[in-house]
């Protein structure tokens, strides 16, 4: 740098040419996914089942979170071959997970031409301190959060979509509710706050002031906000929608249940008709066995959600 006299300025340190994909286009796809269900799938066959059920996107991964939990070991980005096969099989958007902070996995996923990258705490961390600088990518990112501060930090890093983390692979909705309530509650507090107090509030939740102020004005997160981690029934999905989410991710809940196709279809319908108990009752009938689920009072259960800040 000293020799050439070249310096890079903030926002211009791009690895790839960024300007082709402005933030509006990145958020745009997430906006098209609103009111929809994004399902975890591990092969092309499951991707087809999800598409036929009416999923608005699929998340391609090697093992669903429940299996990651059961089998342990290091969970990484899926084999690109698998992602390609899934992409071939369906016409709906395909997402894939990269490890937190592992920007090379993200570069590979971008090159594969998938539609969204999930920088996910469900996979083993690659970097304990830093997330991926998502401004450097043309592909949009979705990131997890447990509270408002975490959500706004991710947005500042370039995430174009947020999902509350919940506790993936447990089939237990409690953590998802906790996180959604935390985000929504903080926003309600923020909305009633005097402008003078926002500086300290921003410091307290460790989030950038401008985004906190924007959130206050909007009364919601400035990007699309999905729920994730523990959705196992149509009622769970509708609960997330009534709490104010824009859509849901369903991980292990579908393909770890007795009749995946039927359950997937029911969850899709529940998200559209989330405030209509008549429809909810109808679609919840006779779905077969739900995934078994894990009681989260047990402190031996590893908390994926606490892996990143």
């Amino acid at each position: 740098m000293e020799g050439s006299g070249v310096v890079t300025v903030y926002g211009n340190g791009a690895i790839t040419e960024t300007k082709k994909s402005p933030f509006s286009v990145k958020v745009g796809l997430a906006q098209m996914l609103r009111g929809g269900v994004i399902m975890d799938v591990v092969n092309a066959e499951q991707a087809r089942i999800a598409e036929e059920a009416g999923a608005c996107a699929v998340m391609a991964l090697e093992r669903v979170p429940a299996d990651i939990r059961a089998q342990g070991g290091v969970a990484r980005m899926s084999d690109p071959q698998l992602i390609k096969e899934i992409k071939q099989a369906v016409t709906i958007p395909v997402m894939a997970k990269a490890r937190i902070g592992h920007f090379v996995e993200a570069q590979i996923l971008e090159h594969l031409g998938i539609d969204y990258v999930d920088e996910s705490e469900v996979l083993t961390l690659a970097d304990e301190d830093n997330h991926i600088n998502k401004h450097n990518f043309r592909i949009p990112f979705v990131c997890g959060c447990r509270n408002l501060g975490e959500a706004l930090r991710r947005i500042r890093e370039g995430a174009a979509m947020i999902r509350t983390k919940g506790e993936a692979g447990t089939g237990n909705i409690i953590e998802a509710v906790r996180h959604v309530r935390s985000v929504m509650g903080d926003i309600r507090v923020l909305r009633n706050m005097d402008d003078d107090e926002v500086f300290t509030f921003a410091k307290k939740i460790a989030a950038p002031y401008d985004l906190v102020m924007q959130t206050k004005q909007l009364g919601r997160l400035p990007v699309v906000h999905f729920a994730a981690g523990g959705v196992a029934t149509p009622a769970d999905a509708a609960l997330m929608m009534q709490l104010g989410c824009d859509g849901v991710f369903v991980g292990s809940g579908v393909f770890k249940s007795g009749d995946p196709a039927k359950r997937a279809r029911a969850i899709v319908q529940a998200v559209t008709h989330y405030s209509d108990p008549e429809v909810l009752a109808e679609v919840s009938c006779g779905l077969g066995e739900a995934m078994v689920g894990i009681n989260l009072n047990d402190s031996n259960v590893e908390r994926f959600a606490n892996r990143s800040e």
């Binding site: 082709k20 994909s21 402005p22 933030f23 509006s24 286009v25 958020v27 745009g28 796809l29 906006q31 098209m32 996914l33 609103r34 009111g35 929809g36 087809r48 598409e51 036929e52 059920a53 009416g54 999923a55 608005c56 996107a57 992409k87 071939q88 099989a89 369906v90 016409t91 709906i92 958007p93 395909v94 971008e110 031409g113 998938i114 539609d115 969204y116 043309r138 592909i139 949009p140 924007q214 909007l218 009364g219 919601r220 400035p222 990007v223 699309v224 929608m241 009534q242 709490l243 104010g244 279809r265 899709v268 319908q269 998200v271 559209t272 008709h273 405030s275 209509d276 108990p277």
Partner: protein
């Protein structure tokens, strides 16, 4: 105040309702066939067309939608909505999907490719500018967008977009047929009107420019003058439980 229905199965229906609100018009969410009877015009928003088609199928919406279009009531489809309204769509999922039809054209689903190829551009919109005023161009946001490959004689082309023939060199299989299209014709159609059907491949609801929305509302007024003056806007049926506060996302410039 006129009521405009917005098909609220999935996708950007909130954005459409927010855009209508900026024009002082109330948008009503349509999820069931009987709700279609309460409105005089309908917007089919962007979203995943396969998902929307599945949901429409589950709740038996297709007959009602076809009837609505055939009655000549104004209908506008954006992106996925365009696919819904087209008589013929290519690039569909295995097994295809149901369409509403009515618009005499062939649509290529997901023409521009995956999200990496999504883009924003200034489109020349002479017809819109002459009717609604404002600048000669419109900020078109294309998200995994479809394109219209050819249209019937009754269809009026409102905007097109040049496709460079050296475009896209990805290894995707769906790109192959796209390439040959690009070679034979260097422009694709992205906005059309046929009678009371309006269709755009891009997303006016994602921009602050409401000219397409007001253009659409005027289509409604030509045919249904008497309806727009009705003072008896039916009170919002509140059979539903908790409806979260409808706060809208910002518009990114």
């Amino acid at each position: 105040m006129a009521l405009v229905g917005v098909l609220a199965l999935q996708g950007s229906f909130n954005e459409h309702i927010a855009a209508l609100k900026r024009l002082g018009v109330k948008g009503v969410e349509i999820r069931k066939p009987e709700q279609l009877l309460t409105v005089n015009s309908l917007i089919i928003p962007g979203g995943e067309s396969t998902t929307m088609a599945k949901l429409a199928e589950y709740f038996n919406l297709f007959p009602a939608l076809r009837e609505f279009v055939q009655m000549g009531k104004p209908v506008w489809g954006t992106c996925a909505g365009l696919i819904f309204l087209a008589d013929k769509a290519i690039g569909q999922k295995i097994g295809g999907q149901q369409l509403v039809g009515g618009l005499d054209c062939t649509v290529h689903r997901n023409f521009f490719g995956s999200q990496i190829q999504s883009f924003e551009t200034e489109l020349a919109v002479p017809e819109l500018a002459s009717k609604e005023g404002g600048p000669e161009t419109f900020r078109g946001v294309f998200i995994r967008a479809p394109a219209i490959l050819d249209v019937g004689p009754e269809v009026q082309v409102l905007a097109d977009y040049p496709v460079p023939s050296d475009k896209v060199t990805s290894s995707d299989s769906s790109v192959e047929d796209k390439k040959e299209n690009a070679e034979e014709e260097n422009k694709v159609i992205v906005a059309v009107r046929q009678g009371n059907i309006l269709a755009t491949a891009f997303h006016p609801e994602l921009t602050a420019d409401t000219r397409w929305h007001s253009y659409f509302l005027k289509m409604g007024n030509v045919t249904g003058e008497e309806a727009s003056s009705s003072g008896i806007v039916p009170a919002q049926v509140s059979t539903s439980y908790k409806q979260p506060l409808q706060n809208e996302l910002p518009i990114f410039q």
